[in-house]
C-alpha cells in the first residue's frame, strides 16, 4: 500500500483523542519505570536510543512511528521494504535492524536462522487482552483455521534463544501481532448487478474478461483454491500447504479459465487493484478491504464480499497478520526501549489508526479508547453507523445506517478459511503459477 497515502493521514486528533492520548502517555511513562525497573533518569538515558523498524509499507507506517517517538521519547526510524527484500535484509544484515516486521512464514524462517530473540510475555502488559485468535488459536472456545500459517502456528518458542517453534502456549513469543485483516473479493455492485458472497464468482463465465486475481503466487494460489473449492472442483486437505497434485489441479483450472478469456488482468499492488476496479476494467477480483475503501473514497461504488464459511466448509476469508519481532542483538537499554515500543502498539493509538484504513489491532479494547463510539462500532463491532464514516483524509465512505461489509471483527475472523503462507512445495508452485501467467 502506498506509503504516501498512509503517512499523509495522521488523523486530525480530536480534542477528545488528545486528552486521551495524554492520559495514556502519562500511563505509559509511569508504567515504563515498573517494566525496566528504572528510576527517573530513564527519560534522560533513552533520549539517544534509536529503534529501526523495517518492513512492508502497510505495516511499518511513518505516521505511527512518529507518534510512538513522540509518546516514548526516543527516536524511531521506519523503513519500508517489500516482503522478500525485508526478510533477506533481516537474514543477511541482522544488526542493521532492531524491530523486524514479520508475517508467519518470515517468522518461521527468522526463528530457524536464530536471528530473533523471544519476546517475554510477562513484559507485554496487554498480553491478556490480545484476542485469543492469536495467542491460543481459538475464539470463544472455537478453533480458528490452521490452514496455511496462522499467527498462532508460529507464535511460541520455549526459551528466549530457541530456534524451534513449538506447539501450545509458552512464555516466549516469536513475534507480536500488530496489524491484520481478512482478504476477500471486491466487486462493483453497479456493474455486477447481484450480491456476491462466493469465491467461485471469480471463475464465473458471466464475468468473462471482467475478473482479476491476485498475482502474488503464494497467496494468489489460495484465492484460486478458495474459488475451486467454492465451485466444487476439489476439496483441499490444506489450502495453505498443497500437494503437487493439488497444485496441478488448481493451476490447470486457472489455465483453462485463462484460455477461455476469464481474466482481464492480474494485480500485484494495492494501487493496481484500486485502478482496475475504479476504471471499470474489472468488475470482480480478489481484493483487500482497504482497497475497497480507496475505491469508495473516489465516489465509485465497490463492495467487499462477505464470504462466511458455509456449513459444507466452502468459502471463508484468507487471513494475514504482520507483527513485530526483537532482533537477537538487542540488549540493555535498547532492549528495554524495544519492549516499550512493542507495548506502545497495544496502547490504542495505533489500533485506532489502522482501523480507519480497514485493518485491525489485536487488542481492540484499547483501540476503542481512541475512537468515537460511532467509529468503533462501525469498524470493529460491525454495527450500523450512527453518523457519516470518513476515511483518514476526511472523504466520506459510508452513510449513517450503513454496516461494514463482512460484519464485525469477530465474524470475519471466525470465518477465516486459510492464512497467508509459503508452502513446502513452494518452488514447484511458483513454476506452475508462472505457467498460468504465460499460458
Amino acid at each position: 500500500m502506498g506509503r504516501k497515502r498512509l503517512s499523509a493521514m495522521a488523523p486530525g486528533p480530536t480534542r477528545r483523542g488528545l486528552l486521551k492520548s495524554a492520559a495514556v502517555l502519562a500511563g505509559a511513562t509511569a508504567g515504563s519505570g515498573a517494566i525496566g525497573g528504572f528510576p527517573t533518569i530513564w527519560a534522560q538515558e533513552i533520549k539517544d536510543i534509536t529503534l529501526r523498524h523495517i518492513g512492508v509499507s502497510y505495516s511499518v507506517v511513518q505516521a505511527i512511528g512518529d507518534q510512538a517517538a513522540k509518546d516514548l521519547g526516543f527516536k524511531v526510524v521506519m523503513q519500508n521494504l517489500d516482503t522478500s527484500t525485508a526478510i533477506t535484509r533481516f537474514i543477511t544484515q541482522p544488526t542493521s535492524v532492531d524491530i523486524p516486521d514479520l508475517e508467519g512464514w518470515q517468522t518461521k524462517v527468522a526463528i530457524a536462522r536464530g536471528i530473533l530473540q523471544g519476546i517475554d510475555v510477562k513484559k507485554i502488559k496487554q498480553f491478556d487482552n490480545i484476542l485469543p485468535i492469536f495467542t491460543k488459536g481459538e475464539y470463544d472456545g472455537k478453533k480458528v483455521s490452521r490452514q496455511g500459517i496462522s499467527p498462532y502456528e508460529a507464535m511460541y518458542i520455549d526459551s528466549k534463544d530457541s530456534t524451534k517453534i513449538v506447539e501450545g502456549v509458552h512464555d516466549w513469543m516469536t513475534f507480536l501481532p500488530q496489524v491484520y485483516n481478512a482478504d476477500s473479493i471486491g466487486y462493483r455492485p453497479d456493474l455486477v448487478g447481484e450480491p456476491i458472497t462466493e469465491w467461485k464468482k471469480l471463475l464465473d463465465p458471466k464475468f468473462k474478461g471482467k475478473s482479476a486475481i491476485l498475482d502474488v503466487p503464494n497467496i494468489g494460489i489460495m484465492d484460486a483454491a478458495l474459488a475451486l473449492e467454492s465451485r466444487g472442483d476439489i476439496v483441499y486437505k490444506n489450502k495453505g500447504n498443497m500437494t503437487r497434485a493439488e497444485i496441478d489441479t488448481t493451476i490447470n483450472a486457472l489455465i483453462d479459465a485463462k484460455k477461455q478469456g476469464q481474466f482481464r488482468a492480474t494485480w500485484t499492488t494495492f494501487e493496481q487493484s484500486v485502478e482496475l476496479m475504479a476504471a471499470g476494467e474489472v468488475t470482480v477480483q480478489s481484493m483487500w478491504s482497504p482497497a475497497v475503501t480507496a475505491v469508495l473514497a473516489k465516489g465509485i461504488p465497490c463492495t467487499y464480499a462477505p464470504v462466511n464459511i458455509r456449513p459444507d466448509g466452502k468459502e471463508g476469508y484468507r487471513g494475514w497478520c504482520n507483527g513485530m519481532g526483537l532482533m537477537r542483538h538487542l540488549s540493555g537499554k535498547k532492549l528495554d526501549a524495544a519492549y516499550e515500543y512493542l507495548n506502545w502498539y497495544y496502547g490504542g493509538w495505533q489500533g485506532a489508526f489502522v482501523a480507519r484504513h480497514g485493518y485491525y489491532s489485536p487488542v481492540p479494547s484499547t483501540a476503542k479508547q481512541f475512537m468515537s463510539a460511532n467509529e468503533y462500532d462501525y469498524w470493529y463491532a460491525g454495527k450500523p453507523a450512527t453518523d457519516v464514516i470518513k476515511d483518514p483524509y476526511g472523504a466520506p465512505i459510508a452513510k449513517a445506517g450503513s454496516i461494514r461489509d463482512g460484519g464485525s471483527l469477530i465474524e470475519r475472523f471466525t470465518n477465516i478459511s486459510c492464512w497467508n503462507t509459503v508452502m513446502d512445495e513452494n518452488q514447484y508452485m511458483i513454476q506452475r503459477w508462472n505457467e498460468f501467467k504465460s499460458a
Binding site: S84, A112, N218, A265, Q427, I430, N434
Partner: protein, 299 residues
C-alpha cells in the same frame, strides 16, 4: 592503447606500455568490482543447494536441470522472443525513418541536431510515467475506446487495446525507439555526401541509393540499435507486468517470483541461462557486421 599495440617491438616495461596499462586500470577495476564480482556471486549461488528457504553452499547442477528441463522456460523465452521481434521491427522502421529524415532531409545541421534533441524529450520523465500514461488512453473507458464508440465505429469497448501484446509492444516502441535512432543517426551522419552524387551520376534511383549505399553504410548503427532493443526487451520485467495487466509472464518476472520467497539459487540459475542466451544472441548479431571495423574505419 592503439599506439602501444602498433609498436610490436616494445618491451614489457616500456613507458608506452606502462602508460597504457595505467590508462586501462581504472576501467578494469570498475568492471571487476561492479560487473565481474557480482556475476561471480550469482554464478556461485546458482550451483548451491537450498532447502526450506535456506541456501546451502554445496555444489549441485539441480537448479540448472530444473530451469532447462521445464517447458515453462521455453514458453517464457518464446513469449519474450516474440515481443522482442515485434518491437525490433517497429523500432527499426521508425528509428531508421526518423534518423534518415533528420540526417538527409533537414538541410540545416543545427535544426537537425535540435530535432534530434527533441526526440529525447520524452526521456525527461521517468520510464514508469511514460508507460503508465498509456493506460488512460487504451483502457476500456479510455480515450480511444470512448472516441470510437462516440463515432459509432464500435459498440463494445475493444479489449485488445490494453492488457495485451499490443499494449506491451506499443510501450516498448515508445520507450526504446530512441535507442535505435541514436546509433543509426550517428552512422548516417558519417556518410560522405559526395557518395550520393556519385550514386546519382552512376544512374541509381533513390531506392537503389538507399538499398546499396545508405543501408550498407549504416549497418553498424542498425546492429548497435538492435542490440540495445533486443537486450532491453529480453531483460524487461516491469513493462510486461504493467502493460499486459499481469496476464503475461516474462523471463525476469519468473525470477522475481523465485526471489520473493527466497529461492535464490533457482533464480541465479535462470539469470545465468538468460545471460548465456543473450550473449549468444548478441554474438550472432555481431557476426553479421564487424561493428568495431565499421566504427574505427574512416570514410
Amino acid at each position: 592503447m592503439k599506439a602501444a599495440s602498433r609498436r610490436s617491438g616494445a618491451s614489457w616495461l616500456s613507458p608506452a606500455r606502462v602508460k597504457s596499462f595505467a590508462l586501462v586500470t581504472p576501467l578494469a577495476l570498475v568492471l571487476l568490482m561492479f560487473v565481474v564480482a557480482p556475476l561471480a556471486v550469482v554464478m556461485a549461488v546458482s550451483v548451491f543447494r537450498y532447502d526450506n528457504f535456506e541456501v546451502i553452499p554445496a555444489f549441485t547442477f539441480e537448479n540448472y536441470a530444473s530451469v532447462l528441463s521445464s517447458h515453462l522456460t521455453l514458453s517464457l523465452y518464446l513469449t519474450m522472443l516474440k515481443l522482442a521481434a515485434m518491437t525490433w521491427v517497429c523500432t527499426l522502421l521508425i528509428g531508421y525513418s526518423v534518423a534518415a529524415f533528420l540526417v538527409f532531409h533537414v538541410r540545416n545541421r543545427l535544426v537537425a541536431i535540435g530535432l534530434f534533441l527533441v526526440c529525447t524529450v520524452p526521456f525527461w520523465t521517468s520510464n514508469v510515467i511514460r508507460m503508465i500514461s498509456w493506460l488512460p488512453l487504451l483502457g476500456k473507458q479510455g480515450v480511444i475506446n470512448q472516441a470510437l464508440m462516440a463515432v459509432g465505429v464500435i459498440h463494445e469497448p475493444l479489449q485488445m487495446l490494453l492488457f495485451s501484446d499490443f499494449s506491451v509492444v506499443i510501450s516498448y516502441v515508445h520507450l526504446f525507439t530512441i535507442f535505435m535512432i541514436v546509433p543509426i543517426f550517428n552512422a548516417m551522419s558519417r556518410i560522405d555526401p559526395s557518395l550520393f552524387e556519385a550514386a546519382h551520376d552512376a544512374g541509381a534511383a533513390r531506392w537503389q541509393t538507399l538499398l546499396w549505399v545508405v543501408l550498407p553504410l549504416t549497418k553498424s548503427g542498425i546492429v548497435l540499435g538492435s542490440i540495445f532493443v533486443v537486450t532491453l526487451v529480453m531483460g524487461d520485467f516491469y513493462v510486461v507486468k504493467v502493460m499486459s495487466g499481469g496476464t503475461d509472464a516474462s523471463v525476469v518476472s519468473a525470477m522475481y517470483d523465485d526471489i520473493s520467497t527466497l529461492l535464490f539459487p533457482h533464480a541465479a540459475a535462470s539469470a545465468a541461462v538468460l545471460m548465456l542466451i543473450l550473449t549468444i544472441m548478441v554474438a550472432a548479431i555481431l557476426r553479421l557486421v564487424d561493428v568495431r571495423q565499421e566504427l574505427v574505419s574512416s570514410r
